[in-house]
Amino acid sequence: MLKEKTGIGPGLLFCLVFSSVFGFGVMNAPYIAAKYGGPNGYWGVILAFFLALPVMLITVKMGKKFPNKSIIEYLPLIFGRFIGKTLGFILLILVLITAVWGTRTITDLFSEFFLPRTPVWAVTLMIIITVGFVAHKGVEGITRVAAFIFPVALVFIFMAVTMSFQGFNIERVQPVFLIDGLKIPYNTIQMFYCFFPLATVFMIYPYLTEKQKGLKTVAGAAFLAIIPIFIMVFSAIGIYGDKGVLRYGWPMLQMTTQAKLPYIFQSFGLFFAVTWYSQIALSLAGLYYTSAQGFSELIGASNYKWLLLVLLPVSYVLVLLVPGLIELRNIFNYLRIIGFGIIFTWPLITWLISLIIKTGELKHAS
């Protein structure tokens, strides 16, 4: 049972889903799309959205079946106590690893571009504290921060999208409709990582006050977030070429730093980096909150805040355990596949089994 008597409207959920999907997805999207999709790798972004649609639909359906329960709470009701709790535990571990991976990613980006001499532990500490502060405020706090930043972020994101076309060459994104073996489906699976933050929705969906608007809200926000990612992937491939994108550690930032806007901004990269940081910080706050809330439900603790105070130092250590960027990229290769396996398939299986055994809130209501 949920301990907090709180609720969020569809508007707040919309802002959080937008920030989470965009913040988590955008920075690595051109690299993954170009690596697995080639010149028309941008299709992977759109197709991954369609792949994520069933996950969103099932989240909403399960939310209706178990209106006051998160995924961690209804998994034991469907699979039985042991299997359900084990599945929940694995899901939460994935969410935590995703959050740790995201934290280390921004740490490395900051270290490389802005704070080269500052030790990694100091940058990480600052990020963990900021993200932890937002996560500590709970679902309402996270979503309200997301809503506060949303208008400014949206303007900067779409400005970056518009300006990212300097040097674009249409031939580099052609042929548009080339089917080259299994490249497109494989690329779609790889690009599904953009939707890992949907794990946050699994946990916070019970707080949604107007559940009839659930699918529209989540799918609409995810679609709005995927549009700039798609355009940026399209322009990155059009500018650098599919092989050229692979040269850069951070193609997205590279693209925004090369945009020349004489007399307005000499370099747009910094503005984009700040916008992106706010978005990924929210995304990470959502993931840390999800882990803390989930673990508290799993072990029956009364308050997620205490769990968060345990998880954040653990995460801090885990972030620092990664020796460097090369290892981080290697971890990401596994994370994308394992994450797809869990975040895409588990809700589907859960829903199917709940249909078969006809379980639901009404049956279990006492």
């Binding site: 010149p39 571009f113 500052t118």
Partner: protein, 372 residues
Amino acid sequence: MHLKKWLIAILVLSMILPGCWDIEELSSRSMPNVLFLDKGNSEKVKFGAVFFVPGSLLPPVVGTTQQFEKRNFVISVEGKDLTDGWNNLRAVTTSSVFFGQLRAIVISDEFARMNIDNFLDFVGRFPRMPLNIPVLVTKSDPEKLMDIKNKLNIIPGNYISLQLESPYAKPQAIPGSLWEVFAAVDNKTFDPFMPLIEEYKENYRIAGMAVFSGSRMVGTISVEETETAALIKEIPNSLLTVKLADNQGLASFRDISSSTKVTPKLDNNGILTLRIQMNVKGGVSELIPRKQTITLQDKQRLESEAAASIKKRIGKLMSNLQSQGSDPLGFGEKFKSVYPQVWKTVNWHQTYQSAKIDIDTRFTIDQTGMFR
């Protein structure tokens, strides 16, 4: 109360944590304006940079003459590789070398004819290296070239950068930024190209274009050929002088703009034909001998002769580029987009060198200036 504690903790940590390690006063930072590279005498690489004299970038006091005899100075070192060169450069400067304010990179002809992969790897790994700066080639000693005091006494990087950014200079110096060189080398769908720079009466001038095959410079093309290449790349603002048939004089055109369509076609024998269709527009700038009025008949004759002249120039340019095995105009990109599966199986440079070129040009006079 909790909120206050959190906020105070964050504020305190933000003051004492990130930033402290990265504070660097401007005075302790050396900011090269141009980076130049050459083949070394004693070591493998000569690595040099142009620095500005501190304080000299301020504008002169009104009513006085320029206070600084020369605003720039050059430091060069040699090294086993570029990192060694960079390290040696750091050893002779009093502060850290920061590449974030670079305005141009100049490499010698001799250096460019070696493999530039290492050079690209080195410059690309600096996170703050500006990627939209031009890379140029010089046939002379880049150290001497960068050490001249040009007549405007503008430091070389700013001078070159301003010169190349002018829309009227672009037909002679087709913009080729650092990131485009990366893209060319990585994608292999076109070859890098870099403007050739030389000294001319204590100033800099563009002397054509250095062309590459992969990551190695293979030759140069003249200024006139570069202007023809600019037409194919649809870069506006060029000029054109046409020698009229039967020694009837000269016709010159200004503000020329072009629209080009390149169609690659493979026949059954695997022979590639590159069809170049170009529509060019321009205004009359000079007629020798002068004509009081350009009639419709004159217009048609001038247009036809201009089109023929452009066709001839394209033919000459293509023959030169094909013989050098260089594709700076990106025909490979067209070919790959039309024949993506064939692209994987062919050696583009070989296919390109043996390709037939089919040129179709049209010229339209759209302005006659102040006169009829």
